[in-house]
Amino acid sequence: MELKCEKLTYEYDAGTSMAKRAVDEISLTIPSGQFVGIVGHTGSGKTTFVQLLDGLLKPTAGVVSLDGVDIASKGFDRRSMRSSVGIVFQYPEYQLFESTVLKDVSFGPKNQGLTDEEAAKAAAEALRKVGIEEEVFPSSPFELSGGQRRRVAIAGVIAMEPKILILDEPTAGLDPAGREEILGLLSNLWKDGMTVILVSHSMEDVARYVERILVMDRGKIFLDGAPREVFSHSEELEAIGLAAPEVSYILKALKDAGIDVDPTITTVEEAVKEIKRKLC
């Protein structure tokens, strides 16, 4: 499914003296099956932007369209759209409400109109994908650890089998191991054909997994391109309060010191390989 927005604009408190433009005339296309990272510092409009993509906010101006159909148009079934575009909010573990893990994850599929058994099956499948063991299914979501709860909450959205999955800071507040798990999971989902949109402020996370990075600043798209291309603008990134991944600074320093390495490398693994190559 192709997600497209044209001159998308959103203002909080539109029409009052306190009006604040959070998203400012963004136009772009996200083709089916792409892994997109959205980065930007706090208040740059990332969260508002993804909520517009899912139709949870009504744009002040502009259009979001899914496979060419305007999602704000009359007669467009927004509820069925929610089956194809899933969104995982920040700290999604605070939305859990059911008495058992399995029931909570079944909530979405049941809303899609599946029977109890079908929903439970979809839920079990999603829980397996996020790496939750079967013993945990009947326990209360509130007995789990923070990382487990996060994964259960993500399973709650995956169980609806969306074509496009949007995640708002899914790794916030997790330890490195938990972060790896979640990012690895997203990477697997993407390899299975899902479009994944990852909002994050961790450049390292984004650099390792995504194909395309959108850098947002004050409601606008500041940079848009492949990680290497975006991170080569490290000075511009710093000007808006962001930074390229740490390794790219090391490689740049090496390059400046006269060692012939590729300065556009953005991940630790590649950097290690590159430096080893140079040493041998």
Partner: protein
């Protein structure tokens, strides 16, 4: 969704009303509310409304912003109007089953509507121009004489300020949870009332859990900073009455005196309008009869 509730919200502006002592504003709102019940005639209502709009003008709070908050209380107002229209006693216009529409009922309803409107706008002006902290400081100071009777005034004020402080946080939280559940296909816009009530569960459970979690965190944070009640506590902002406060006391006293005078001198609403309405109804009736 929930952002439209302006009742109890603070509107940041730089005005005389904003900078008044909170105690004056509290007493002032109280006096204004009481004054609305002193009279029952057209002139006094006009005077009270004019006075209120004068204060709103001074406060620099946009009227549209205030009226937006009224949407939430419109239900109560409509209910009062309907109740008064159908349950009045006096000169009957129409009657069916239990219900009786009377001239007095209609007038009463209109009167109650205006009164409620002024009451709500008047009290929302207080919260719009006073921060919750100032409000509780003011209340604490006004009620402090009760400490002699061992009433825990400080603790109650603290509870109130915490409650007020948490309203916007919990509202934001509700908004977030609602969006998350809508994204999971929850049906919150269904016409079916049972579906809608059932749809509240996935919102209320996480909301309560987060409220308890926040309360626990806050209690811990307060204890960690050695909070132990009001005894021996000093304040950062000491409230002291300024010239503008004394002037507003004078204005308030003048208003109250004026209202009492008007209330005594002016003829009551009822005697004043009922005959005229009756006359008008008569004319309309004759006109309709002549028509056929």
């Amino acid at each position: 969704m929930l952002k439209d509730i302006t009742l109890g919200q603070y509107y940041r502006a730089n005005s005389v009303i904003h900078s008044l002592d909170p105690r004056i504003k509290l007493v002032g709102s109280l006096v204004y509310m009481v004054s609305l019940f002193l009279f029952n005639n057209l002139i006094s209502y006009t005077a009270a409304a004019l006075f209120l709009f004068f204060i709103i003008g001074l406060s620099k709070v946009p009227l549209s912003f205030m009226l937006r908050g009224m949407k939430t209380v419109i239900f109560i107002m409509v209910f009062t109007v309907i109740y008064n229209v159908f349950m009045g006693t006096g000169t009957v216009i129409a009657e069916f089953w239990y219900f009786r529409i009377t001239y007095e009922g209609i007038l009463n309803a209109a009167c109650m509507f205006v009164r409620l409107f002024l009451l709500i706008v008047g009290s929302s002006l207080l919260t719009l121009t006073t921060t919750p902290n100032q409000l509780t400081d003011g209340l604490e100071s006004l009620f402090s004489p009760l400490k002699i009777f061992r009433v825990p005034v400080h603790e109650m004020a603290m509870m109130m300020s915490i409650a007020l402080r948490f309203i916007p946080i919990l509202m934001e939280e509700t908004d977030k949870i609602m969006k998350a559940q809508i994204a999971r296909g929850a049906d919150l816009e269904s016409k079916n009332i049972f579906v809608r009530v059932k749809g509240l569960l996935p919102i209320l459970v996480p909301l309560f859990i987060s409220a308890f979690r926040r309360a626990g965190d806050l209690a811990l944070a307060m204890e960690a900073r050695c909070y132990h009640g009001g005894k021996g506590r000093t304040r950062m902002r000491v409230m002291r009455l300024m010239i503008r406060d004394y002037i507003s006391i004078l204005i308030l006293a003048a208003y109250l005196a004026g209202m009492i005078l008007l209330g005594i001198r002016c003829k009551g609403f009822m005697e004043y309008l009922v005959p005229e309405l009756q006359c008008a109804a008569h004319v309309v009736k004759n006109w309709v009869i002549n028509l056929f």
